[in-house]
Amino acid sequence: MRVMAQMAMVMNLDKCIGCHTCSVTCKQAWTNRSGTEYIWFNNVETRPGLGYPRTYEDQEKWKGGWELNKRGRMKLKGGGRFKNLMTIFSNPKLPSIGEYYEPWTYDYSTLTDAPAQEHTPVARPKSLISGKNMKIEWSANWDDDLGGSTETAHRDPMLAKIAEKVKFEFEQTFMFYLPRICEHCLNPSCAASCPSGAIYKREEDGIVLVDQDKCRGWRKCVSGCPYKKIYFNHRTGKAEKCTFCFPRIEVGLPTVCAETCVGRLRYIGLMLYDADKVLEAASTEDDHGLYEAQREVFLDPFDPEVMREAEKAGIARDWIDAAQRSPIYALINTYKVALPLHPEYRTMPMVWYIPPLSPVIDVVRDTGEDAEDKGNLFAAIDALRIPVEYLAELFTAGEVEPVDAVLKKLAAMRCYMRDINMGRDPDASIPAAVGMTEEEMYDMYRLLAIAKYDERYVIPPAHAEQAHSLEELSTECSVSDYGGGQQDLFGEGSGTPTPIAVENFQMLQDRQTSDSLAGPENKGARVNLLNWDGKGSPPGMFPPKGPDS
């Protein structure tokens, strides 16, 4: 047994209102630079829909992820090492910018500069790639809220698998939102496809990162990732991906997307897993077995043997504690309501989803029946095969039973809690019908409905108790080094990097988790104006006042 820790996320899709706040805040934080216009580390898709980039789930076309060869061994779907190198000069499976969208801005200056004329001047869209006028024909959320779905949704690769049963008639349709970030897989095919070895998985927390100094821009990771969550920065010529906001995670803060989620639908926590069993689980022959196989890779953090092995593997005691309190472990293994996205890609993804019950509830309610009655809901889950099969295509490689079981648990929770909220006697037969006790059901309700910040995000800080040495100012690297030297000599972004100031994140955490204003006392007379929230005047900003004033 080789115990490793993995930072993981679960999203409760029933709560997603599709507001895109996560995408926007993520973009503001990470990809608001030139060359990253089309890069969305976090995006929210309306399903059924094409996704981003368009039809990325069609692996017969894009060849992402892994497959089993004839001998049952794992093999990159895009081709082995030799084929990978032979296609290095022109990647045959790289989505063109058109599959994402051509980023644009507007020619705003004409609005103020235009000479007097009969018609109001308009700001025309200009491509950020060619600089020319362009016609906007697609973008990251072109089919948001099923907009234009009568034209496009039939190309949804997941719908195609159950297509003969679906008539895309508006009144019969269903939809939900699917927020996506990088899956930080246990068996990442992007890393396996990278010729330079620049993509690595961190031993401590399993976050998958691209070493920007080692990346040589071969673009193999883009086609290797079946989720298409690695993007090519077309200005710097380097691959970029979701970082799980590692500078925030290291100081115990949730990712930006989770922090700003309006519906509070994201959970972050640790999972302990047995690294020796990953490959075996990923090689499970039957696609339908992959969900169960992945669950078996996870270790029970309460098992004394696992705790002992974890300590032997150098996992700190507070990390094991955090793994025991992990909401992720509870949702995946205790309540078994979270499911992986596309286990059939065999990458062992680590961002899981609680499938939405809302498509079912909407239908029941529309018929005028009681949508919180157990009998009605259970019957509807059994009867409404199309939404359920669609969810199964997303989360269990098409196997309906696990999705059925999760939906019934969620339905049971709804019915059971209604009795309690209405002041009636709780009906123990409802949890029993889905194999749970009353207490378990109530605990699950608490976690899903009213869990507070520190229950949703159980993030042990990284073992950098050396916090002070993280501060570049106190060790080296004076301000004059920032932006010093001759930049951009060999094209955009070349030259020495501008450091991520770790101290900024440490202070951000102090500010967000304490009741005081910015400027912790122990910092003496140093003020970081970047973190000043505008409230009050932090000590050290002005010289100390004399004794008589």
């Binding site: 890393a191 330079s196 690595y200 000599l489 060999f490 094209g491 450091p499």
Partner: protein
């Protein structure tokens, strides 16, 4: 004059080549990339780029064979002059034609496709000029010198190659090159100028040819480097406390 052109200039260029790469690698790891433009345009690239690059690999292999292996060695293993000539010209022609066709497609693409052209730096353009000149001169030497034998027979393996090996051994014999036909002289000079430019262009990606990929494990694990928690390594003499 020969001394300046075929001893001093090449050594200066090679020095710039070596020192330049060391400097670039230390100063600009982030800028060390292929700067691929495939995202902008794929139709022409799909044909042009493999043609050019595979052709170029053949050309480089041919140069290694022709310049570094003495004629006496091939004679010793029983390869006659005639056999060598046919193989060298045949292989060289094939690789050369692939390279030239690929290069024409790529330059056409770079000039005509708007986004690609606007992503082209000044260094790129200078580099393209020298690279194209070196390739065209090389093709000219193969066709005019070895096939049509304009200006008489010239066995470069008794001239240019010997000079090149003497150059690498730091005992340069400039006269050998001075006697070579003009085409060979120009090709060598342009190539050395290209070597001098090399570290300052996107050509550095040649030295990142990812051969290690064939042997490394698929998944790379890395520990958070505790000696490097910021983006700079702590200076010597600064120890962490705790």
């Amino acid at each position: 004059m020969n001394l300046l052109l075929f001893v001093v200039f090449p050594y200066v260029c090679i020095t710039v080549f070596v020192v330049g790469h060391l400097w670039r690698y230390r100063y600009d790891k982030f800028g060390w990339t292929t700067r691929s433009s495939q995202l902008y345009e794929n139709r022409l690239l799909r044909i042009g780029s493999p043609l050019f690059h595979f052709g170029m690999l053949g050309v480089i292999g041919g140069h290694i064979f022709g310049l570094l292996i003495p004629q006496s060695w091939t004679d010793a293993v029983g390869i006659s002059e005639q056999m060598y000539h046919v193989a060298a010209v045949g292989g060289g022609l094939l690789a050369g034609v692939m390279t030239v066709v690929g290069m024409v497609i790529l330059i056409y693409r770079r000039r005509t496709v708007g986004p690609v052209f606007s992503a082209t730096t000044v260094m790129d353009k200078v580099m393209y000029a020298f690279l194209a000149a070196a390739i065209v001169l090389g093709m000219w030497n193969t066709i005019a010198g070895s096939i049509l034998t304009l200006g008489g027979e010239y066995n470069y393996r008794e001239g240019v190659s010997v000079w090149y090996r003497s150059f690498l051994a730091f005992q340069p014999d400039a006269d050998l090159m001075g006697e070579a036909p003009l085409g060979f002289q120009l090709h060598a000079l342009v190539a050395f100028a290209l070597f001098a430019l090399w570290p300052f262009t996107r050509l550095v990606h040649v030295f990142s040819a990812p051969l290690g990929y064939l042997t490394r494990p698929y998944i790379v694990y890395r520990s958070r480097d505790d000696t490097r928690l910021g983006s700079h390594r702590p200076r010597r003499g600064w120890d962490r406390v705790g």
